[in-house]
Amino acid sequence: MNIPVKIRVNGTLQESEVEPRLLLVQFLREACGLTGTHVACETSVCGACTVLVDGKSVKSCTMLAVQADGSEVTTVEGLSHDGKLHAVQESFWECHGLQCGYCTPGMIMTAVQLLERTRSPSRDEIRHALEGNLCRCTGYLHIVDAIEQAAKKGGA
C-alpha cells in the first residue's frame, strides 16, 4: 500500500505516493529527478548520499521517504542560487577538492552543515566532521583545504 508524502525539496513541494520501504535517496533520485545525491555503500558508511533534512545533515540511504514527510530537504542541487555557487562549492572548485566527483555532493553537504555549526573549524575539526564521508580519489587533503578556505570566506 502506498503512502502519500509531502516533502519540500530545495524549496519546491513534492507530493507523491510512495512505497513505505522507499528510501529518501530513491525518492530524491527517482521521484524528484535529483540525481546529484549518490548511492555508494547502502549501509550509511560512505556519506555520498548526504542531504540536509530540516537543516541537519542526514544520510538519505538510511532514512525512509515516509520519515521525511513534512520535512524540508536540501540537496546539492539546491545549494547554488541565481547561478551563483555556494561558498563551499566554490572552494571545492578552487582547491581541487574533487576528482571523480562521486563523493563530492555528500562531502559538500557535510561541509555546509559543519560551517553552519562552526564558523572557523581547525583542520582537525574538519577531518573529524568528514569521518562519515569516504573519498577514494583525493586523499582528503584538498577537501580539508577547500572547507578551510570556505570558512575563511564566511562559509555561506
Partner: protein
C-alpha cells in the same frame, strides 16, 4: 603540522597555460550535482537487471528453480547459464601466458560456482526493487565442494582443485631469468632471505560498476553506457561476444566515479546486459551494489614472494632470486597474468642489479580474480626492493640512505638499461632523494628519533626511492595496441574541439588537454572543449590505465595540432599572397616575417577553410587532423617518499608523524592536478600499509564485503603531507611528461613499512607483513616481550 604548501602562480593573460595550477573545467557539473553517471541515465522503457550470486566459494549447481521468480508481477524474465552461455561468448583474458591453463569463463555459472559472488542467474524486471525482490524467489540447489583458499596449500599434493577438470591449481608459470644469477650469488659475501606477503586488496571505487544498454532495432546497433576506464577496449572485445559487428556498437563511458584499475576490464555483467537489451528489445540497466562490488569486481595484489638477495659487504646488491606465488582467483580476467610479470620486470627498482630471477606461479583459488589495481604489479616490486634495501642496511649496519645511493645509477648513466631489459628513459634519483631529505629536515628528524628512543618510545623513519613504468606502452609490448589517438578540429567559428581516445575518469584531462591545445594553438582556453569517453566521437583509443593518458593522449593532440598548423600555413599564404614557406605562426597568428602586422588568426582562417570560396588550388576544405601516437618507449617516473611514524607500544597503533614526498613525473602540465594525484595515491597507500586487506575465511566466505568490514582511510587517517617535485623531462614523448596516476601508490607503502619496521627495530623486529593493523603490530611487540 603545516598544510600542503603550494606556490602561488600569477595568472597570465592568455598564453602559457601549461605548467599552471589551473582549476578544472569538469568541476562545475560535479559540484552542482548535475553530472551524469550511469545510474543517472534516464532511458525510456528501461528494464532493470539484478544478478543471483553464489553464496558458496565452490559448489555444484544441482538445480535452479526460476518459476516463482518468473511469475512475480513485474518480472520480465529470469535467465540462467543454460539460457545464456551458449548465446554469448566467454569473458576474454588479453594477456594469457604460454602453457597457461584456465577454464572457459562463461558469463553466468555453468555446472559449478567458483567464488562467492559468482553470477548464477539474472532477473530482469520493470523496476529495480521488483528485480531485487525476485532474487529471493530464485532457488538454487547447491552441493558445496571443498574450497581452495590458501594459494600455498593449493600447490600441495592432494589439495582440492578449484577447477577439477584442469587437474591442477596452477593457472600459469612464468620465469624471468635476467643476467648471471648463479654467478652473482657465488660472488656474494652474504645471502639474505625475505618472505614478503602482499595482501589482497579491494579497489573500492566510490561509484560501483554499472551499465545500461539500448538496442536500436531499426539500425541493428547497440549503445552500451558503462562505468568503465576502457570504452575502446570494450568496443574491440564485446562485439564478437554478443555477435554484432564492431561498427554496430557504440560504447560510452559517461561520468565515471573512480576506477583505480577495477574498471579496466570487460565484465560478465556488461556482456549479459548488452545481450539482454538485444534479446528483449528494450533498454536494460544494471547497477552494482556495494557487496557485489566487493565480491565480484576484481581485487588487486595478493602475491607471496620468497626472495633471496645476494649482497656484498659494502652494501652492493648484486642479485635477487624470487619465487613468487600469485593468487589469481577463480579465472583470469583481462590482464590477470600480466600483473605479476610486471612485478618481475620492475624488481630491480632504481638500482644497478647485475642479475634477477623471478619465477612466478599463478594459482587458481575459489576467490574473485585479481587484476590491475592502481600500480598493478609495480607496488609489489617497489615494496620488495625497498624492503630489501632496508634489510641490507640493517644486516650490515649501514645507513639506508647510503645503501640506496651506492646502488643507484648516476644521472649521466641515463638512458639506463636494467638487467631485466627496460630502458629507463631519464632520471636523477639522487636529486629527488636529496630534495626529500631537505624537505623532511633529515638531521632534525634523526634527532627526533634519537630523543624518542631515549625516552623509550617506538619512533621510526622509513624511505622509499622508487621508480615506476608508465605510459604503457609501445604496441609491441601490449596485447592490442599501446598507441593513443587524438583529433583536433578548428570549427567554422574558430572554436577548438579536441577529442581524445584516452578516457580520463576523474584525473582532469578535460582541463590539462585544453591547456596543451590552447598553448599550442595560441587561443584562449575558454575556446577549447575536450571530448572523451564515447566511441562515436572518439573513434579510436586505448583509454586510461597505467598512467598513460597525458604522455600518449596528450602527444596525439600535439601531433594533430602540428598537422593543422602546417595545413593552415598553406591557406594563410594564399590569403596573404605569399608562399607557405614564408608564413610563420606565433601566438595564434599567421603572418609573413617581413610584415608581422598583417596577420591572420584562427577565426578568419577557419571561416575561409570551411566556406571555401578562396581556397588555393588543391586545398582540401576544413581544419581538422587526427593522429595515432606510437611511443618508442615507456616512461619511468621516480621519486623519494619519507615517512616518520610513532607506534603506540600499548595498543600497536601506528601514527604517521611526518610524510614527505618528492615525485618526478617529468614536465608538469597542471601542478594542481598532479598534487591531487599524488595525495590520493599516498592515501590509498596508507590504506594498504595500515588497514586494508581483503579477507576470505577458510571456507571461502568473503569477510570484507562492504565498507563496514573493509577499511579504507578516512579523513582523520590522513595527515598533512609535505610535497615537492623535481622535473626530469622524458625523452619518450614531445611533451616531456611521464605520468603520475600511480606514483603515490607505488612509492608510499614501502616508506611507511620501512618506518614501522624501523620503529620496531629496537625490539629486534626485522620484518612484519602488511597491513600494520594495531592487532598485528601489538602481537609483534608482545612476541618480543613488549620492551626493548
Amino acid at each position: 603540522m603545516a598544510k600542503t604548501k603550494r606556490k602561488a602562480v600569477k595568472k597570465k593573460a592568455v598564453r602559457g597555460y601549461v605548467g599552471r595550477p589551473m582549476k578544472r573545467v569538469e568541476d562545475p557539473r560535479l559540484i552542482k550535482g548535475i553530472a551524469t553517471y550511469v545510474d543517472d541515465l534516464k532511458l525510456p522503457n528501461v528494464l532493470h537487471a539484478e544478478f543471483v550470486r553464489s553464496p558458496h566459494a565452490h559448489a555444484k549447481i544441482k538445480a535452479i528453480h526460476t518459476d516463482a521468480a518468473k511469475k512475480h508481477p513485474g518480472v520480465v524474465g529470469v535467465f540462467t547459464g543454460a539460457d545464456l552461455n551458449d548465446k554469448v561468448g566467454a569473458i576474454p583474458c588479453a594477456s594469457p601466458l604460454p602453457g597457461g591453463k584456465s577454464p572457459e569463463h562463461t558469463v553466468l555459472a555453468g555446472a559449478r560456482v567458483y567464488f562467492v559472488g559468482h553470477p548464477v542467474a539474472v532477473v530482469v524486471a520493470e523496476k529495480r526493487a521488483i528485480a531485487r525482490d525476485a532474487l529471493d524467489l530464485v532457488e538454487v540447489d547447491y552441493e558445496p565442494l571443498p574450497a581452495v583458499i590458501d594459494p600455498e596449500k593449493a600447490l600441495e599434493k592432494g589439495s582440492p582443485l578449484t577447477h577439477p577438470e584442469l587437474g591442477t591449481n596452477v593457472a600459469f608459470t612464468w620465469s624471468l631469468p635476467a643476467g648471471d644469477v648463479d654467478g652473482a650469488f657465488k660472488k656474494a659475501d652474504k645471502v639474505l632471505k625475505l618472505r614478503i606477503v602482499h595482501p589482497r586488496l579491494t579497489p573500492m571505487a566510490l561509484e560501483p560498476r554499472g551499465c545500461a544498454a539500448s538496442w536500436h532495432a531499426g539500425e541493428a546497433s547497440l549503445t552500451l553506457w558503462t562505468s568503465t576506464q576502457v570504452p575502446h577496449l570494450i568496443r574491440t572485445l564485446l562485439p564478437g561476444l554478443i555477435r554484432i559487428p564492431e561498427n554496430k556498437l557504440r560504447v560510452v563511458a559517461p561520468e565515471v566515479g573512480g576506477g583505480f584499475g577495477s574498471k579496466l576490464n570487460l565484465y560478465a555483467e556488461e556482456v549479459v546486459v548488452s545481450h539482454l537489451a538485444i534479446r528483449l528489445n528494450r533498454p536494460v540497466k544494471w547497477i552494482e551494489g556495494r557487496r557485489e562490488n566487493a565480491s565480484a569486481t576484481i581485487h588487486g595484489r595478493d602475491q607471496i614472494g620468497l626472495n633471496e638477495v645476494a649482497i656484498r659487504k659494502d652494501g652492493t646488491v648484486l642479485a635477487i632470486r624470487s619465487k613468487t606465488i600469485a593468487d589469481v582467483g577463480s579465472y583470469c580476467q583481462l590482464l590477470t597474468p600480466a600483473i605479476p610479470t610486471l612485478t618481475g620486470v620492475m624488481l630491480p627498482g632504481c638500482y644497478k642489479l647485475k642479475a634477477v630471477r623471478m619465477d612466478i606461479t599463478g594459482v587458481h583459488t575459489n576467490k574473485m580474480c585479481t587484476d590491475a589495481y592502481r600500480g598493478a604489479g609495480r607496488p609489489e616490486a617497489a615494496y620488495i626492493i625497498e624492503r630489501i634495501m632496508d634489510l641490507v642496511a640493517a644486516e650490515l649496519g649501514l645507513d639506508p640512505v647510503q645503501v640506496r645511493l651506492k646502488n643507484m645509477p648516476k644521472p649521466a648513466e641515463f638512458p639506463f638499461k636494467t638487467v631485466t631489459g627496460q630502458l629507463y628513459d631519464s632520471g636523477n634519483y639522487q636529486a629527488a632523494l636529496k630534495k626529500a631529505q631537505e624537505l623532511a629536515v633529515w638531521p632534525k628528524l634523526l634527532k627526533q628519533r634519537d630523543a624518542a628512543r631515549k625516552a623509550g618510545r617506538l619512533f621510526g623513519i622509513g624511505l622509499s626511492t622508487y621508480v615506476e613504468i608508465c605510459a604503457l606502452g609501445p604496441s609491441k609490448a601490449m596485447a592490442a595496441g599501446g598507441w593513443e589517438w587524438g583529433c583536433v578540429r578548428i570549427e567554422i567559428s574558430g572554436k577548438v574541439t579536441v577529442i581524445t581516445g584516452a578516457t580520463p575518469h576523474g584525473q582532469g584531462q578535460e582541463t590539462s588537454f585544453a591547456q596543451i591545445a590552447a598553448d599550442k594553438l595560441g587561443v584562449p582556453i575558454e575556446d577549447v572543449v575536450v571530448f572523451r569517453g564515447d566511441t562515436a566521437t572518439a573513434h579510436y583509443g586505448r583509454d586510461t590505465y597505467g598512467s598513460r593518458a597525458t604522455a600518449l593522449g596528450g602527444t596525439a593532440i600535439v601531433m594533430s595540432i602540428d598537422k593543422i598548423i602546417e595545413k593552415a600555413k598553406t591557406l594563410a599564404a594564399a590569403l596573404l599572397k605569399s608562399t607557405s614557406k614564408k608564413v610563420e605562426f606565433k601566438d595564434g597568428r599567421f603572418f609573413v616575417k617581413e610584415k608581422p602586422k598583417n596577420s591572420i588568426g584562427w577565426t578568419q582562417l577557419a571561416s575561409e577553410a570551411y566556406i571555401a570560396k578562396n581556397l588555393p588550388p588543391g586545398f582540401e576544405p576544413g581544419l581538422e587532423a587526427s593522429s595515432f601516437f606510437e611511443p618508442s618507449n615507456c616512461t619511468f617516473p621516480f621519486g623519494t617518499h619519507i615517512a616518520a611514524v610513532e607506534v603506540d607500544r600499548d595498543t600497536g597503533q601506528v601514527k604517521i608523524v611526518k610524510y614527505v614526498a618528492v615525485d618526478d613525473c617529468g614536465k608538469q602540465v597542471n601542478p594542481l592536478l598532479i598534487e591531487g594525484q599524488v595525495q590520493g595515491g599516498i592515501a590509498q597507500s596508507i590504506g594498504a600499509a595500515l588497514m586494508e586487506q581483503t579477507v576470505y575465511d577458510e571456507s571461502g566466505q568473503l569477510l570484507t564485503g562492504e565498507f563496514m568490514d573493509y577499511a579504507i582511510p578516512r579523513a582523520t587517517d590522513i595527515p598533512d603531507f609535505v610535497l615537492g617535485s623535481t622535473v626530469t623531462p622524458s625523452p619518450s614523448n614531445p611533451l616531456g611528461v611521464k605520468g603520475v596516476g600511480e606514483a603515490g601508490t607505488i612509492g608510499s607503502t614501502p616508506a611507511i613499512a620501512n618506518a614501522v619496521v624501523d620503529a620496531l627495530s629496537p625490539l629486534g623486529i626485522r620484518h612484519l607483513d602488511l597491513p600494520f593493523t594495531p592487532e598485528r603490530v601489538w602481537r609483534a611487540i608482545q612476541q618480543k616481550g613488549g620492551r626493548p
